[in-house]
Amino acid sequence: MFAELGHFSLILALVISLALATLPHVGARRGDARLMALAPAAAWVAFALIGLAFACLVASYLRSDFSVANVYENSHSAKPLIYKITGTWGNHEGSMLLWVLILTLFGALVSIFGANLPATLRANVLAVQGWVGTAFFLFILITSNPFTRLNPAPIEGQDLNPILQDIGLAVHPPLLYLGYVGFSVCFSFAVAALIDGRIDAAWARWVRPWTLAAWLFLTGGIAMGSYWAYYELGWGGFWFWDPVENASFMPWLAGTALLHSAIVMEKRAALKIWTLLLAILTFSLSLLGTFLVRSGVLTSVHAFATDPGRGIFILCILVFFIGGSLALFAFRASRLTAGGLFHPVSREGALVLNNLFLTTATATVFVGTLYPLMVEAVGGDKISVGEPFFNLTFGPLMIPLLCMVPFGPLLAWKRGDIIAVSQRLMAAFGGALAVVLVVYLFKDGASVLAALGCGLAAWLILGALTDLWLKSGFGNLPPSQALRRLVGLPKSMFGTAAAHLGLGLTLLGIVGTISFQQERIVEIKPGETVEIAGYTLLFEGLRPFKGPNFDEEQGTFRIRSSGGSEIGSVVSAKRFYPARRMPTTEAGIRTMGFSQLYVSLGDQTETGGIVARIWWKPLVTLIWLGGLVMMAGGAISLFDRRLRVGAPARRKSALRPQSDPAS
C-alpha cells in the first residue's frame, strides 16, 4: 500500500515537474503574470509529492516490508531502528530519491525566499529547477524505481552492508546532497539570467546566499565522509584520493571559487561572465559526481557496459544540462556587459587569483580522476592514479593560494597597496616564522617541510585573526572602543575570518598527522604491553559481546602515560554480521587533546595472540574541527543582514557600497 502510494506520487511529481519546466518559461516570455505565478505553487506541490514518496519508502523500511525489493535487499528485521530509517538512503534507489527530495526542497525554498525577486527571473529559475527535476524523476521511474514489489515476498531481508550501519554514514549523504544539489539553485539562476539576457550586481546578491548555503553543507558532508572513512574502515587514513571522494571534492573546489567570484560581482559588478560560467561548471561537476558514483562506472568500466541503463541515462542528463547550458552561455554571454575596472593589486585582483588557482586545481583533480577511466575505456592498460599524483599536482597549486589568503581580505577594492598590507601582516608573519623555528628545532624528527607546513597553517590562522584585529581598530583605538567596533563588524567579515581560520586548522591537522604520526604493528598476547608516543598500552585480552544484529570480539587496552599513571582504556573490536556473513573492524579511538590514539585489530595468531595496528595521530581531530569552523564561517555570513535572501530589495541603504573600515 505504501509502496504504491509512493510510486503514484512520484509519477504525479513528474507530471507537475513537466508543467513547472514549461509553463513559467512561456509566462516569462509573454509577460503573463498568471503563468509565472504557477511556478512557486508547482515547486511546492512537487516538494510535497516527493516528500510523500520519501515518507512512504521510510515507512516500508520501518515496517520491514520485504515485499518491496529495495527493502528486502537492504534491510533486516533485527536491524536497529535508527539504521532502518537511515538505510532508506544507504542504497542506490533510496539515495536517488533523497537527491530529488533535496532538489524539490530547494525549489520550495526559492519560492519562499524569492518572493521579492523580479517575477520573470523567479519564474525562469524555478522552471530550470523543474527541468532538472523532470530529468531525475524520469531517471528514477525508468531505471531505479525504489518501489518495485517482489512476489512472493521473502520472509527476511538481506540486511544493509554493515560498514554503512553507522551514524556517520547516516548523516553524510543528506549533508553531501544538500551541498551537491544546492548548487543547482546557482545553476538555475545562471541559466535564468542567460535566458533573460540580463545580469547585474543584484543577481549576485541573490545568488550568493544559495552558494554559501550549498557550500557550507558540502563542506560538512565531505568532512563527515572523511571522518567516517577514518574510523570505520580501520585503515587510519582520512583522505584516499578515491574517485568517489574526488567526485565530491571537485564541486567543493569550484563552489569555493564561485563563492569568491560572486563577492567581486556583487561589490564591484565585475567578473559577471566568469561568475555565470562558474555557477554552471559547479553544478556540472555535481552532476558529474552523481554520474561517477551512481552509474557503476567506477566499479568497472565493464559493469557500465553490461548494465548500461542507468549509466547511459545519467550520461544523457549530463550531456543535456552541461551541453545545453554551455551552448546557451556561448550564445548569450556576449550580450552581458563587462563591469568595473580594477588594478591587478586589489581585492578584485586577489579574488581573481584565488579563482585561477582553485579552478586549475579542480582541473588537475578532474584529470587525475578521469584519466584511468579514459585509458581503460579506449582499451589501454589498467592503471591507477593515486595519492602521489595528487601530491605532485594539487599540492603545489594549493601552496601559493594558501600563502595569499591572508592578503586578500586586507587589500582595498579597486587599487590596493601591497606594501602597506605586508606591513600590517608583519606580526602574523613573525608568528608563523616563530612556529616554523620552534617546530624545526624542538620537535623530534621534524623535517623542513613539516616545519614549513606548520608555519603555513599558523600564517593562515594568524592572518585571519589579524584581519579582525585591524578591522576593529585594536592598536589605534582605545580597547573598549575597539571591542565595540569588533562586535559591530558586519557578520560577513567574521564569516570570512572564521572560514580562513578553519582552513588553517584543517591544514595544521593534516600536516601534524602526516608528519608526526607514529605507527606500530605488533603481535600481542593478553598481559603484554606495547609503547607508542610515550604511552604504554596493556592488552587485557579478548571478550565476546553480542550486539542487536552482530557478534563481536572486543579487545581492551589499558593506557598508561609516561609518568606511569593510568589514563583510561580503549576498546577495539572485530565484528561479524551473520546476515551478510561479513566481518568488519571497529577501530578503538581515544582522543587526547586534539590528538588521537587509534587501535585496529587484525587476525588472531596460532600462539594465542592477536595482530594489532596502533597509531598515534597528533592533531588529527583538527582536520574535521577546521571543517566545522569553516561551516560556522559560512553560517555566520549567511546571517549577515546585507546577504539575507531577498532583503536587499527592500533596504535601499544596503545597495550603497559599504565603506570598508580597513581601507
Binding site: 580501520g234 566499479t299 603545489p396
Partner: protein, 149 residues
C-alpha cells in the same frame, strides 16, 4: 589601467598557472601512475625489480602462511601463473583464501612481491574491479554479476 590591459594581465596570469599545472600533470603521469598486472603478465613480461605496481588475482588455496607474528606470506594466482607475496601488517577483513585481492607494492630481485597495501573486496558482492575483469578474460570468473548498487 584600461580594460584591455586588465584582460591581458588576467590572460597572462591564467596562462602561466595553467602551463605550470599542465607541466605538473604530465610530470606526475610519467612518475606516479601505477599499472595493474596479473601473475601471467609478470611471467610473460617481467618488470624491473622495484617498479611499483598493483598485482591482482585470487589468493591461492592453502598458500597463506603466518610466521606467528605480523608477517604474512601468500600466493596470488590467476590459475595459470603464481606470484609469491609477502606483507607485514593487518590484512583486510574480507581477505580469504580463494578470493580476489589486489596487492600494491613492488617485485624484488628474487621474484617475491612485497606488498605495502592489500585490498580485498568491500562486501560479499563486490570484487576489486581489475581482478574481476582479469579473471573474466581468463575465463575463470565464478562470481555473480551483481557488482553495482
Amino acid at each position: 589601467m584600461t580594460r584591455k590591459q586588465r584582460r591581458l594581465t588576467i590572460i597572462g596570469a591564467a596562462g602561466v598557472v595553467l602551463a605550470i599545472a599542465a607541466g605538473l600533470v604530465l610530470y606526475a603521469f610519467n612518475d606516479t601512475i601505477v599499472f595493474f598486472k596479473t601473475p601471467t603478465d609478470l611471467a610473460e613480461q617481467p618488470v624491473a625489480p622495484g617498479t611499483r605496481l598493483r598485482l591482482g588475482g585470487l589468493v591461492k588455496e592453502g598458500s597463506v602462511a603466518r610466521d606467528g607474528g605480523t608477517h604474512v606470506a601468500f600466493v596470488i594466482t590467476d590459475t595459470e601463473h603464481d606470484t609469491p607475496v609477502t606483507y607485514d601488517g593487518i590484512l583486510p577483513d574480507l581477505f580469504r583464501e580463494g578470493q580476489g585481492v589486489v596487492a600494491e607494492g613492488a617485485v624484488g630481485a628474487d621474484g617475491v612481491f612485497t606488498a605495502d597495501t592489500v585490498l580485498a573486496k568491500h562486501d560479499e558482492t563486490y570484487m576489486p574491479r581489475e581482478v574481476a575483469d582479469a579473471l573474466k578474460e581468463k575465463g575463470v570468473w565464478q562470481g555473480e554479476e551483481k557488482a553495482t548498487q
